[in-house]
């Protein structure tokens, strides 16, 4: 019987009641008395020198409260970067200033130049049209390959447009070169991991308010991590101490990474609200989101995999150009380095790995983490290359992978790329996925497709990812300018119900349900007695927020620690009430019992006693029942799995139809299977979106061609098959209390190579060996045509 409660139950998502009935409170739903509206005038050219800005007509326009440009922002810092990468020569990366409003130059289409604050959005927009700009257009660098070959410099600090030139593992370089030179076979693949737009359903929004009576600032914002925003914006941009700055991220309608970062608009409305003495709201429209939300991926990579005659991997060498865009977004530098290079061992025993990553400035929107962040790029490189290798070596792709797997008895496994995998069983997920995909029946299905004039293909991909990025001491050594623990306060209220204050932030993940299940399981109470509070720095302890599939593994662990402390204290109170020794008290199903007797009291009595301490061990413990914990993990967690995709291609049109998609994931222990499956479905949809549909494209002058949904193709339900998902091959994480690994990004990481492998398999007979994503009908048809000629 499946559980209907606590850990392991598919409890319905309690937050959906408000989301599905229109009762959610998103930032744009909040309106403050006397509120004004802000409109940002953004650059229409990709690169230009600002010779002059005349705002006088705009300032005099009806309804306008104030107009601001960079010169008004003297003393205000730039948008800070939260991660410093050190290059191969030991020098810090180039870190040019990212001003709140453009200073002297504009560097991408969408770069904010001026801000108009007015009584209405329409008035602000009307006035913005009266701002006279004198901008001298400069040549733009868009293509990374051109940018590093003497293109115009985006920043004078980086004349070659290189932010950093990073090598990893530098000590392995010579050995890798040597192994490749002497190998039986080397498979080489050049590929592009195209730029994506995150496209959360809710566009970004920020409201700044200043309370002059208390000298307090409040920012409501669409953020995945309100405390991080408070810290970055308060300390580095606006010089507002934490106790005078409250950041609230209420209901947030999806983030996928794009709402991790501190954005200029947030700092502006917070700062300007004090200047104008009224609250200021800014809400991005969809066009603005395309031009100002940090974008994802955008790597150009060459991979070389050396093998012996039996296909054993000997060495892997990669070189990547990673696009940073025009400025460094908050975590941009760590994505192509520490979240990418460290995953290049994949699920395999490859003894030697070397990668070189050049991060490149271009006149495009900044790039940062997007669902998976670095790990999808690593996985795509590896799994596409392995597939190509299998074909070149004449070895079955599943067999080649199996032959190189890290074996279950090799854990903990020290990879050659710094990280140590704690547990895993890659053969198990491979077997499971092949079985669920009925790979045995593939040949017959392929023949049936052929009879209809269609080409059928099967693609396999393994993935491993590193989640819950930590420990703080390690990430600090790697350049993080923050700790990566999580905090939780568990407050038992006097009548026994529980409020949990978590630093994790839910913006689609279902924390309010999952976290409540964990607490209910531990305390033996009903889930409805547990409330999860998140998203408001004035209510929650200092925590780092949600990204990198860290919430349950890190945030959940902090909650567990606090609940453990609560139980310990509650036992002391129970022992006092039962006049027994503390060591004789057992706690189960919400009852404190003196072992070996029938004497017991319930949870409610203990909770009430903590707050009404009439009969209480007051000399030993304080009244109240509330505990806070900060949990700093010992290691990353390493979810892994195997995805199998089967496609049918129409050679006449290039249309790819997914026939089936199987995902066998090892997420360790699972708290809510339904939510986990939902996360996998969403991740698969996004990964398939990348593989088949999505692509952010600029023209040579830096104009965004895919600037709306008329040209940026998002996956729709009809593009997707019914997914078969399995998480039975679990090897629980060994170093966190719940044994959980994280499931939010897996789908987006493992699915692109599975799908592309399937399509290339289908077209192999036509001589196609690779197609760059997205595999749109036009591209697939062109690939068939090119291979034919």
């Amino acid at each position: 019987m499946p559980k209907d409660h606590g850990i392991g139950a598919s409890s319905k998502r309690r937050e959906d009641v408000r989301f599905l009935t229109g009762k959610g409170q998103y930032t744009d739903d909040i309106n403050r008395p006397g509120q004004t509206y802000c409109y940002f005038l953004r650059s229409s050219v990709a690169h230009g020198k600002i010779n002059g800005i005349d705002t006088s007509a705009a300032a005099a326009a009806p309804g306008v409260v104030a107009v601001f440009t960079a010169k008004d922002l003297e003393g205000v810092g730039g948008v800070p970067c939260g991660w410093q990468v050190t290059d191969k020569d030991g020098n810090p990366m180039k870190e040019p200033k990212h001003p709140i409003l453009a200073e002297g130059k504009v560097r991408h289409v969408g770069d904010p130049i001026a801000a108009v604050v007015a009584d209405s959005l329409a008035a602000a927009r009307d006035a913005a049209e009266q701002i006279e700009l004198d901008i001298e257009e400069l040549p733009a660098v868009i293509d990374m390959r051109a940018a590093v070959k003497g293109g115009t410099a985006v920043h004078s600090e980086a004349p070659d447009n290189i932010c950093y030139d990073w090598e990893f593992v530098a000590e392995n370089k010579a050995a890798v070169d040597e192994a490749i030179r002497g190998a039986h076979h080397v498979t080489t693949l050049e590929l592009v991991n195209q730029r994506l737009v995150a496209n959360p359903m809710e566009p970004r929004c920020a409201i700044g308010e200043y309370d002059a009576g208390r000298d307090e600032h409040t920012l409501w914002t669409t953020s995945q991590n309100p405390h991080v925003i408070r810290l970055l914006m308060g300390a580095f941009v606006l010089s507002i101490p934490e106790h005078k700055l409250r950041v609230v991220a209420p209901d947030v309608g999806g983030g996928f990474g794009s709402k991790i970062y501190h954005y200029a608009e947030e700092a502006f409305v917070t700062w300007a609200a004090k200047k104008v003495g009224r609250p200021i709201k800014w809400t991005a429209d969809r066009s603005e989101a395309f031009l100002s939300d940090a974008q994802g991926r955008d790597h150009v990579t060459k991979v070389e995999l050396a093998m012996d005659k039996d296909g054993h991997f000997l060495a892997l060498r990669c070189s990547t150009l990673a696009n940073m865009g025009a400025y460094l977004s908050t975590f941009a530098p760590c994505i192509p380095t520490w979240l990418h290079g460290t995953l290049l061992a994949g699920n395999y025993r490859t003894p030697l790995v070397f990668t070189n990553v050049k991060a490149v400035f271009t006149n495009t929107v900044p790039v940062d983490a997007y669902r998976g962040a670095g790990r999808p790029e690593a996985t795509f490189q590896l799994e596409r290359t392995i597939d190509k290798a299998a074909r070149e070596m004449g070895i079955d792709p599943a067999e080649l992978r199996r032959r190189n797997f890290i074996q279950p008895d090799q854990f903990p496994y020290q990879t050659p790329v710094a990280v140590v995998y704690d547990t895993g069983n890659y053969g198990a997920t491979l077997d499971k996925a092949l079985e669920l995909a009925d790979v045995k029946g593939f040949a017959a299905r392929k023949a049936a497709s052929k009879a209809k004039g269609k080409l059928r293909g099967l693609g396999i991909a393994n993935y491993i990812e590193a989640c819950g990025i930590a420990p703080s001491s390690l990430v600090g050594a790697l350049g993080a300018r923050a700790g990566l623990y999580e905090a939780a306060t568990v407050r038992v209220n006097p009548t026994g119900n529980i409020s949990v204050f978590t630093g994790s932030h839910s913006h689609g993940q279902g924390h309010e349900t999952t976290f409540a299940q964990v607490v209910a399981e531990m305390l033996g109470c009903s889930e409805s007695q547990v409330d999860i509070v998140h998203g408001d720095t004035s209510r929650i302890p200092f925590g780092m927020g949600t990204y990198g599939s860290r919430s349950l593994a890190v945030g959940g662990s902090a909650i567990v620690k606090s609940v453990e402390k609560i139980i310990t204290k509650a036992k002391k109170i129970a022992a006092h009430l039962l006049e027994a020794s503390e060591s004789d008290i057992t706690f189960a199903n919400g009852q404190f019992t003196v072992s070996g007797t029938d004497r017991s009291i319930d949870w409610g009595t203990v909770a009430l006693t903590a707050y009404v301490p009439h009969k209480y061990p007051i000399s030993e413990i304080e009244p109240g029942l509330e505990e806070t914990s900060f949990y700093d993990p010992a290691n990353f967690t390493y979810p892994a799995g195997t995805y199998v995709c089967e496609v049918e291609v129409d050679p006449d049109t290039g249309v790819v139809e997914i026939q089936s998609f199987v995902a066998a994931d090892d997420f360790g222990n699972v708290v809510n299977p339904m939510i986990v499956e939902g996360q996998v479905h969403g991740g698969l949809a996004q990964g398939i979106g990348q593989a088949m549909l999505e692509g952010c494209t600029y023209d040579e002058s830096g104009q965004l061609l895919s600037a709306s949904y008329m040209d940026y193709a998002m996956p729709r339900a009809a593009d997707l098959p019914n997914f078969v998902v399995d998480h039975s091959c679990a090897t629980p994480c060994t170093h966190n209390p719940l044994g959980v690994k994280g499931c939010g990004e897996a789908g987006a990481i493992g699915s692109p190579p599975a799908l592309v492998n399937a399509v290339v398999d289908a077209l192999a007979g036509h001589g196609v060996t690779h197609i760059d994503m997205p595999l749109s009908p036009g591209r697939v048809w062109e690939a068939i045509r090119a291979a034919r000629h």
Binding site: D126, D652, T653, T697, M710, D711, M714, P777, G778, E782
Partner: protein, 265 residues
Amino acid sequence: MYAFDYTRPASLAEAIEAMRGDEAKALAGGQTLIPTLKQRLASPATLVDLTGITEIRGICLKDGAVSVGAGTRHAEVAASADVRRLIPALSHLAGHIGDPQVRNRGTLGGSLANNDPSACYPAAVLGLGATVHTSAGRAIAADDYFQGMFTTALDEGELITSVDFPVPEKAAYMKFVQPASRFALTGVFVAKFAGGVRVAVTGASEGGVFRWAEAEAALGRSFAVGALDGVEASPDGMIGDLHGTPEYRAHLVGVMTRRAVEAAA
């Protein structure tokens, strides 16, 4: 949006009068015009809302043709029993424009006045050799109506009132959707009449909807897929963009034409 005046005439006569105003613009379903206004790409002084005019809405049979009022919604065309019976290809086309919201607002007149090079209706109007009736009392043959991307034979302020679609022996519309917008990346309307075959192509050409003469000639000789063997559209003048090269579009014109013939036959 910029500020504008708004009027909703109850009759065609009033609408014609209102359209005489300086920078007046007709508003039908708003599915094209409203997004344009929201992006501040147009600034009409007056919007003349046509949705209150019953005389330009609805479907009737007229001299053996199916006459569709310009104000008729796509969903109404798709659902009409007469259209389904007499020109199922037209019903199918209307039923696959955009999504339900678009189909329940968008109108035939709005689509034809706009003449988006990727729109579906122009292929049906040209493929069936329909006649466009206007508020100026003109009856414009389809062959004269479409004059290139977003360009038509309509004069300033002239409104489409109805379109008469001749009933073919056989017809089919094959739409290959652009993956993002789901407009036609290439759409082909094939219609067989006693007097010959018409093949109209939308989505593909920089010149907007056009008739594919070679295919018409070949199919006129024999209305079968085999007749198209060796008949290929040229990539010259085809649209090249994020979603397909001119070569791809030219190729799709052939594939969609064959599929349309198969579906019609």
